[in-house]
Amino acid sequence: MTPAVQVPIEKWTGKIREITLGATAAEGGTRTRTVTVGGENTLPFLSFEGTMPHAPVVALEVQDHYPNEWSPLLKESWGDVLHDPAAWAKKAEAVGADLIVFKLISAHPEGDNTDAAHAAATVKAVLAATGLPLVVLGPGQADKDNEVLVAVAEAAKGERLVLGNCEDKNYRTVVAAALAHGHLVVAKTPIDVNLAKQLNILITDMRLDLDRVLMDPTTGALGYGLEYSYSVMERLRLAALTGDGMVQQPMICTVGEETWRAKESKVNQGVPAAWGDWIKRAIHWEVLTASSLLLAGANIVVLRHPDSVARIKQTIAGLMAD
């Protein structure tokens, strides 16, 4: 006696835009390989319902300045390369990253306040050290973001970099730079479906095609707002699949940056014994945040600890197929 079972299948009408990061020599750049994300026409990994032609990918974060405030666990693990962005990027490629997220933090006016020429030169140095595609992020201060990203866009013409972050109050200069020099952009909004959609519309109004835009819906770390990101990403993905053309962007999540600020990862003094072994706990914190967001629709997870890369790659492989 076997009852007939008809598993409900959703008839999605939308699909996620397929976006290629980086350009090889044949395509006008210097990357040894490119990375393509998106293209899925169902919820993450649900192969019984649709296809996910490109597995999500793992990025590692590299900065142009020694990360003084980073957890000692990260500093120990990376070692001396933290003083040299090119060496750092090379090591990131060696430990298995699919792409590099390079942050120009030294340009921050409250930091070293380095200039556009410095930014262009360090991006060139990183491009020379690794064959991976690059996401280049400014220091997070509008005027300086514009100043350094414009210079970087010009210096790396043809590389199909991803420039960021575009935010609702500051996106025009970065979008124009991407348009002028053949790059892509990251559109970052604070954990909100409508704001994410609105920024995509504003960017389209400037005639940058949405197949050159990644969305960063803002990451909350495990225990520090993860559930907000998780649900906003699920809602964005459902809206995309039901046909909203303004949110069909692949999503990038800054997991490492958020989880390594969490007390659980950052410190081990004066914390409860029940939190357990520090390094294991910290890696789990990064890996579990990433794996949960992959289930919610993340296409790119940006990590900080080299050991998390293999863990997440194993997770992705396991979720993609038996």
């Binding site: 006696m1 076997t2 009852p3 007939a4 079972v5 008809q6 598993v7 409900p8 990994f45 649900l46 192969s47 019984f48 604070p190 954990i191 495990l222 225990g223 520090y224 707002g225 993860l226 559930e227 907000y228 998780y230 649900s231 699920e234 809602r235 459902l238 600020r261 007390k263 659980e264 950052k266 410190v267 004066g270 409860p272 014994a273 029940a274 939190w275 357990g276 072994d277 520090w278 294991k280 706990r281 890696i283 789990h284 914190w285 890996v287 579990l288 794996s291 949960s292 289930l295 919610a296 863990r311 194993q314 997770t315 396991g318 979720l319 993609m320 197929a321 038996d322």
Partner: protein, 455 residues
């Protein structure tokens, strides 16, 4: 999945006798559908209709209880596929497996670690929820002895894992009255296992077999098994679709949840048990898989390894995913005293989102510096979210200063704002004439250093 008024109407006598107090049977049916009337108000409804209506109003995924007393675990009764649609109600029970082949001393040590493990997060105590005792030895007497030994030491809910009804019975006899989860009935042994479940009034796990990745036929077989077991008198069941890969589990659990909620398939409307460690290549992989099962859609998760560094992140994830999106966990607004502040002690302000409160209060406490902490009613939003939504602005902060009697308790006029809303200081100086508004750190973790320099 409720019936519509018309569906209910079809089950009523349709005599319009008005004895229920409604003008017509249809009007009564509409009231029933809106849960504004009780079926018992109709004196003439048939027993058959009563049964049909009761079945239709049962939750689409049955609530199953494992264990008894305060530490019992309730799982199931979920109503949505995505937490934003409403909320997820019953966080998965995290069980740890103890085999009867583990030497007694090691088993005792493990049990001690598990039962003494507990950690508070945002005011909620996190702990391991149960123990899964497995008859790995194949020896019924060894199994019974291990069950008895564990039961003597803890009141945590138990799950008994044994392949044969004989061993299961030996185990169950040692677990009388504690309603353990029996694992598992299969196509081969379901009659005996169902009889044991009925006899011991214990919930029963039912294991299917997944032979192909799409596996619709396999779920049909599992549904057939639960129907037979239900007919044999066992109502409380837990499903194991029998798949152990990461991808396969996500697919099977998603399909089961959809079949229960969207197709209203009662025979698959039960919570699900998973074993993330089986077929995992490392303990780390077990942890990652358990995390996948927390999000999508396990009711009970059986771990093969216990270690605080693994369990604490998993329990935190479970807390996150099962937080009601409409009702963030909050604390009451007010002026909090930390470490016995004096009138001249520093005054910090933040929101009543409970994670914010506990992060800030924890750091202030850790600093050892007596401090006043003013908690503003941001409707449970964090500092940045509250600021963006207009729930944590200068007017609201100024109002709280007066509402909670700050001037009567604090002798100075220096208020420290969270660094994330430094931009509010100008406005706040206008709202609070004569006050000095200072900007504190952006992150709670930097508060102790800040308080050291406060004067």
């Amino acid at each position: 999945m409720g019936l519509s008024g018309l569906d209910i109407y079809k089950l009523l006598p349709k005599t319009n006798c008005k004895e229920c107090g409604q003008p017509t049977c249809l009007a009564f049916a509409m009231k029933l559908a809106q849960k504004q009337a009780e079926l018992s108000a109709c004196p003439y409804v048939s027993e058959q209709s009563k049964a049909a209506l009761a079945a239709a109003s049962a939750p689409p995924i049955r609530l199953v209880t494992v264990g008894t007393g305060e530490s019992k675990v309730e799982v199931g009764n979920e109503t949505v596929l995505f937490r934003h649609e409403k909320t997820f109600f019953h966080p998965p029970g995290l069980f740890v497996r103890i085999k009867d082949t583990l030497p007694q001393a090691e088993a005792d040590a493990l049990l001690n670690q598990i039962t003494s493990f507990g950690v508070e997060r945002v005011g909620i105590k996190l702990r391991v929820h149960g123990l899964a005792i497995e008859n790995a030895s194949g020896d019924a007497a060894a199994f019974a002895a291990r069950v008895a030994a564990v039961k003597a030491k803890t009141d945590l809910p138990l799950m008994l894992i044994a392949a044969t009804p004989q061993a299961m019975e030996a185990g169950l006899e040692q677990a009388a009255g504690v309603s353990p989860l029996i694992y598992a009935a299969t196509a081969e042994n379901w009659k005996e296992m169902a009889a044991l479940a009925a006899k011991h009034k214990a919930p029963l796990a039912v294991r299917g077999q997944r032979s192909d990745p799409s596996g619709q036929g396999d779920l049909g077989a599992l549904a057939g098994l639960t129907e037979q077991i239900k007919a044999a008198g066992v109502e409380d069941m837990v499903l194991d679709p029998g798949v152990r890969t990461s991808h396969g589990t996500l697919i099977a659990l998603t399909q089961l949840r959809r079949l229960a909620l969207k197709s209203g398939m009662r025979s698959l409307g039960y919570p699900i048990v998973t074993f993330p460690g089986e077929n995992a290549s490392s303990v780390d992989e077990e942890v990652t898989r358990a995390a996948e099962h927390i999000a999508k859609y396990a009711g009970i998760i059986v771990l093969d390894h216990f270690e605080p560094a693994n369990v604490y992140p998993l329990l935190t994830l479970s807390q996150n995913i099962y937080t009601d999106p409409q009702k963030p966990i909050q604390v009451s607004p007010g002026l909090y005293e930390i470490s016995g502040p004096k009138p001249e002690s520093p005054l910090l302000v933040t929101t009543n989102f409970s994670l914010t409160y506990f992060s800030v209060a924890g750091e202030v406490e850790g600093s050892g510096k007596p401090t006043w902490l003013l908690i503003v009613d941001s409707e449970g939003m964090s500092v940045l979210t509250g600021w963006a939504a207009g729930k944590f602005d200068a007017a609201k902060i100024a109002k709280s200063v007066n509402q909670f009697g700050v001037p009567g308790k604090v002798s100075h006029k220096k208020l420290v704002l969270p660094g994330l809303v430094a931009g509010l200081s100008g406005e706040l100086e206008e709202e609070l004439p004569g006050w000095e508004i200072r900007v504190g750190p952006r992150e709670a973790i930097d508060i102790p250093a800040y308080l050291k320099t406060w004067s």
